[in-house]
Symmetry: C2
Amino acid sequence: MDAANSGPPPKRTGRRPGSADTRSEILAAARAEFASLGYEKATVRGIARAAGVDSALVHHYFGSKDRVFMAAVQFPVDPELLLGQLTGDPADVGERVARLVVGLWEAPPVRDRMVALLRSVASNEELAALLRVFAQQMLVSRVSQVLPGRDAELRVELALSQVIGTAMARYVVGIEPLASVPPEELVRYLAPALQEHLAPRAR
Amino acid sequence: MDAANSGPPPKRTGRRPGSADTRSEILAAARAEFASLGYEKATVRGIARAAGVDSALVHHYFGSKDRVFMAAVQFPVDPELLLGQLTGDPADVGERVARLVVGLWEAPPVRDRMVALLRSVASNEELAALLRVFAQQMLVSRVSQVLPGRDAELRVELALSQVIGTAMARYVVGIEPLASVPPEELVRYLAPALQEHLAPRAR
């Protein structure tokens, strides 16, 4: 050891309760727990243990297990908003959902988070598992409360597939003319396909 | 240098004309050229120069610039097949396209290549640029020959967005029930939305 390194050791600046570090360590632990155990089996206690903190601290930061989950996924759209649009007049449910998602995308912070999520979910197995658990728990399993039909879950997933694919093509790949079409026009083009999924005409 | 390394230098096993190495170096150079210059400006000569080989060798391996491009992208579906389905009776174009893509996905080698492409395009800027150029050149710019309407390009891109999003949800994220729905049923659920994009009813 040379003279320059012989002074007192540097102050330990690691995790302290209340630091931004603690919060992000809890979130990392939560992501791992939810991805590997699923929503039902993951517990606040287990997350706390994995993060090396007390359960009370997890509750302090996030409140309920639900809230830890939302924060861990950083899903750009509140599922409540989406479920809210599924209720109401079936005659224009496609347009309501199109308007909601396009409106959210056009807000730069939401778009940025969504693009970040799209980029990482495709290459990150843990995140894909987390998103699967999230979509199942927060959205799909509650769909039957707001949409009629035995196949409501499948239909909602196909509508979301249209939405996610459009976001990929418009923002991640950036293919023209889709990348530049004005939001209002995009709503008009998306609505009929979403309508087909969410309130199919009798065939 | 120690004794163990003092023998004759190991045989150089690097690039030889005709080796698998040469082929993959040409493809890497082609990906970079097409992604940065676009299809029109990229040349076989430029690709050869970037790969450190003679243009004749590029022609020998791949034939035309078109063929180098297809090989560089490794797009899992021949665009000709897709364009072929867009022609013909508009009354069931949605079902034809749904049947084509679902049929291709259910062939494991195609599915594997598609999943690999989806995983990498989201996190790889060069690949996203390449795919943008590919979709524009091989598909979108030729759509007006087979589909009527000033907005045919946009409609095809929205139909592809549905297809790509469904592949993401079914194979990459793996959300249920979409991940397990039998192919024939999936065709039935996809067709009406694709129909809305590709042959919209008068509204």
